[in-house]
Symmetry: C2
Subunit: 215 residues, 2 copies
């Protein structure tokens, strides 16, 4: 039987996870700015004091929600991956799979679209997070294209890798808006796969994601 | 000298324009949800009663701001244009010029990015506006690509026009986010022009916009 202190730690951890999970849902449906801390406390059945013990500010909770989204994506789609610079084909196959999974969670996609747009304001609490996130994405996709170039897998070997990285990230972001507005008209993973097949000489491999239930 | 009633109409119209202009600025800098009607009234020096006479709800003011943005864009970039279905080259040249001009108005680009993401929520007051707007954009760009196909100007004549339309709109939207987050790193009109030059066999013509001062 664990000591009282570690039981306390485990139950505190569990409560923190419940808060993040409730905030994840609320931010994804009602939106970050429209959700109050009181509402989140009520949603997960903790007291306001309990909520503020874990998250003294709404901004700190937002950060935890963004980290949680990245953690879930990373576990489901990039666990055990060789990395973009070591296998660009594998990396793009994982991106297509991730886009397909996003097409089943409109609330979270919408949260991300609203937040990334709001966070372009330098005064927004998630500004630094998004600047860093996009820098990392551009770097990873550039590495993936450089790997493909070195293996002779780009149809146009003279194309600029960073330019393609910016374009592919833009397509993924832009398709989200069109898909959220007209879900039945726009096929996000299909469009992404088609564009990649114009750039890459060979078919992307199949990389089945880890089932959501296991992460 | 005009009759009193028409003078009243002209000054009412002028006041309405002042309100729309102040709202345009406030929504573009502070954001739609964060701006209050009282703040807009104060910004343009009209009474709250005067403001509500012209715009009974904040939603009706938002609609006027979106219409004003479209009116300015249309006057500056599409005045006298033959139309996308009659001259696809001309249409894409105008889109590149519009993107270049957007790169000088981050506040309005940011307003548009936040609003289009927020408006993916079916309960948002601008939802119907954005659904219609994207449907129109896809239709116009598809017409422009069909015109280019019929004139033998597509590098790949078998490519699907609607797919390209969705992709180009996505690139324009997605690049806005990356550019707003890293203005010096991302060249919006340059990227758009490069992608179009991969699709279209010939260079886009120069279409100098009408100077902003004249619209």
């Amino acid at each position: 039987m664990p000591e009282p202190s570690s039981r306390g730690y485990a139950s505190g951890r569990r409560r923190r996870d419940q808060v993040v999970s409730a905030a994840f849902t609320a931010f994804g449906t009602v939106g970050y700015r429209q959700t109050s801390m009181s509402q989140i406390a009520a949603d997960c059945g903790v007291s306001r004091a309990g909520l503020f013990h874990h998250f003294p500010t709404k901004e700190s909770l937002l950060e935890a929600v963004l980290d949680e989204r990245d953690r879930r994506h990373s576990l489901r789609f990039f666990e055990g991956a060789p990395g973009p610079g070591r296998d660009g084909l594998d990396h793009f196959a994982r991106l297509v799979a991730l886009t397909g999974a996003n097409a089943t969670t409109p609330g979270i996609v919408s949260l991300y679209a609203v937040l990334s747009a709001e966070a372009t304001d330098p005064a927004h609490p998630a500004h630094a997070y998004f600047v860093r996130r996009y820098e990392n994405s551009r770097r990873h996709l550039t590495m993936a294209f450089e790997d493909l170039r070195s293996r002779g897998l780009l149809r146009d070997p003279s194309v600029d890798g960073l330019r393609l990285a910016e374009e592919i990230i833009a397509i993924m972001d832009g398709l989200q808006i069109q898909w959220l507005l007209s879900p039945t008209a726009v096929d996000m993973p299909g469009r992404l796969r088609e564009r990649l097949s114009e750039i890459i000489r060979v078919d992307l491999p199949d990389v089945p994601p880890t089932p959501a239930a296991e992460v």
